[in-house]
Amino acid sequence: MIAAVNGRRAAWTALLLWAAPLASAAENLDGAVRELAGKTVLLAGAGTPVSVSCRNASSLDSSDVARLRAAFEKMLQQAGGHAGQGATAVDVSLTLSENATDYLLVEEAGKGDERTVWIAAWKRAATGQAVVAGVGLEKKLAWEQEEQILDLAISGDAMLVLAPSRITLLARSVDRWEPRQSVRLKPPAPWPRDLRGRLRLSAPGFQAFLPGLACQGAIAPELSLDCRPGDQPWMLASGSRAPLAANFAPGRNYFDGRVATTTGVARSAPPFFSAAAVEDRASTYWLLALADGHAELFDANFNPLAPMPAWGSDLAGIDGRCGAATQVLATRAGDANEPDAIQSWALADRTAAPLTAPILFPGPVTALWAAGPDSALAVVRNPSSGKYEAYVVTLACGS
């Protein structure tokens, strides 16, 4: 619809230009008006006044109805007819309508006992969605695409996008990213329904973790990828703190609870969706969004300590440039089909306290990963556009 709305001014300007012959199918509103006005003049005859009424049964702006009437009457005039009242007038009722794919201009014309219906249709365009600025947290749209984005990593002027079917390398070109190369992924088994994936930059290359598939890749001199079936632990980062190696449950959407720190010590935790390391009074703690729906605080040995607020299932640990030294970003609890929010929290005396107001997103957050020491990558499914949008989320100090 945005394209239609954006194009509306131009379209209505174009109405003033009556030059093209009648089209069999309208391309937009002005085309529809021109098409129906021409048919109306043929029905009424040049000398018969046409009485026009309009209504809106569509999601288009109601102010369009007033402009529709003026434009239709002008088109009548340019086609050789004229608008007016009178006993002999042809009554025309115009309705702006819509169905799932098209906007419709429906004309019901009555001349004596004769009643005629004409319909002109033009395609609906996808709508856009304005970005809402947050307070305390900032988000910046990095990339959007039709296919689900599992993770995204930026390294200088290169960006990698991990999707269910491929990894794509993009290069920065002035103020935009342009796809350069992509490599298809070959899953060893059908992907799980709630597919998750993780990219980890490890100079000079990168690692990609997917359920049942572990990949090593390089971006120079060209994008290359070596994937092997297997359940290699995923490396979960939390700001500048040591990552956690966690086993992903095969065919599922959570980690099975088998974890290991970088010292190689294996630990066991309940199954969890996401993990973030945080510091409090010089001690390291782990926050886990458990697969049973709760968030819980664990000590460094993964012994449970305290329940956490009712967060969503995605957490990411980052370093705080302001506020607390370490922070955790958490999605909002709720249904996966609802608009989501991310909020920053800090740990004090084993209690989570909010640091910022929630930053809102147009749809559910489908992935949230730590993306660097002080930023996270949030992927949102925008229900308006149907696209997946990847945002870099950072703390906005002093806002």
Binding site: S97, L104, V106, P190, N337
Partner: protein, 373 residues
């Protein structure tokens, strides 16, 4: 730290004696739900605390979704076509079929798009709407049908999944009513507004079109207003024998509407009686389902269902309108209402809606709160 909501509910919790066996920790309290609730002396307090904790948003695996439907499907084999159970394939495979009673489906590990989150779906057939509502309330079902007349009588806060209006309620005249004036007289006699307000509880849409407005965009063009005077005039011009015919319904739930139509008809001078069997009736009140999201395909499917001539191929809205108008010319078929599929859903069902705009079951992306991985 407790959230504000939890604190206020916690206050309620402490205002009554803490139930034995329910730990002070609210999470432990939540975990006790379902396993200990029946033993707790202050279950309401526990329920309020527990229900205040929202679910994590990422889907959870496991659990069985229990569905109850009104239809009693007596076929030897489970249905393969039509809405509802056939929609479960290929994500779920049937594991048990008891004709007229119940069906059970299990998740297919190799389903396209990945294994469903649910382990299983169980469908209980032939459940009266009142029993369905009770079962949803007491937790014996997670998904039930809500008939049109009941949709507005649901308790506050009940979750529903509602499709687009996909069921066309119409009158289908048989060959015996061969005078088009008699058919038009009945079409004009039906007081759709009264039926809509009273019997349908204002659910759905009044329409004179086969294709609903959301699908075609022009349904409003077809006349759906009653005109008793014109109906009487038409009926009076029809020979007396042709003014008398029977109306039948295949679904007993439609009988009150048929009775009201018969009353309207009598007001117009037609003698319409209810037939004991729909098959023998001169005119049938029936539902036809929108079977495709493409309006041209949907219209062709309706025509085929009703035994009408196949509409010409329509490649524009204008052509489609003309095709639909031709199907309705002569009043062999008289559309009355477009109704939606409405399902009541338990709060623990997440990830919905579990139905498509066409009312097809889409349960592969649904999961249950409280299911354990």
């Amino acid at each position: 730290m407790l959230t504000k909501t939890t604190e206020s509910l916690w206050g309620r919790m402490t205002s009554c004696a803490r139930p034995r066996g329910c730990p002070a920790n609210r999470r432990a309290c939540r975990l006790s739900l379902g396993t200990q609730l029946g033993k707790l002396p202050h279950a309401v307090c526990v329920f309020l605390i527990c229900s205040s904790l929202p679910a994590a948003e990422r889907p959870r695996y496991g659990g069985t979704l229990r569905i109850e439907i009104h239809a009693s499907i007596e076929t030897a084999d489970p249905p393969q076509l039509g809405p509802g159970m056939p929609d479960l394939a290929p994500a779920f495979a049937i594991t048990r079929w008891e004709a007229g009673r119940r069906a059970a489906y299990a998740a297919d590990e190799n389903a396209p798009g990945g294994r469903p989150f649910l382990d299983a779906v169980e469908v209980e057939l032939a459940r009266p709407p009142r029993d369905q509502a009770i079962d949803l309330d007491v937790g014996k079902a997670e998904m039930i049908e809500i008939p049109p007349g009941e949709a507005r009588r649901q308790p506050p806060g009940r979750r529903t999944w509602v499709s687009q209006p996909v069921r066309v309620l119409l009158l289908d005249f048989g060959a015996r009513v061969d005078d088009p004036r008699a058919r038009e007289a009945l079409a004009l006699a039906v007081d759709r507004t009264a039926i809509f307000n009273v019997l349908l509880q204002r659910q759905g849409e009044i329409s004179g079109a086969l294709l609903p407005q959301w699908l075609s965009g022009y349904a409003f063009v077809f006349n759906a207003a009653s005109d008793a005077a014109k109906a009487r005039g038409l009926a009076a011009a029809v020979p007396a024998p042709a003014r008398s015919f029977s109306i039948g319904v295949e679904d007993a739930a439609l009988r009150p509407i048929a009775e009201r139509i018969a009353l309207n008809a009598r007001d117009a001078g037609l003698a319409v009686s209810l037939a004991p069997q729909a098959g023998a009736a001169d005119v049938r009140l029936l539902e036809v389902r929108i079977a495709a999201a493409d309006p041209a395909h949907a219209l062709a499917a309706i025509a085929a269902t009703l035994g009408l001539a196949a509409p010409p191929r329509a490649d524009s809205a204008d052509a489609l309108y003309n095709a639909e108008r031709e199907l309705l010319d002569g009043f062999r078929v008289v559309p009355l209402f477009h109704l939606a599929d409405v399902y009541g859903v338990a709060a623990r069902v997440k990830g919905g809606p579990g139905i498509s705009p066409l009312g097809q079951w889409r349960l592969e992306n649904v999961w249950l709160e409280g299911a354990r991985p």
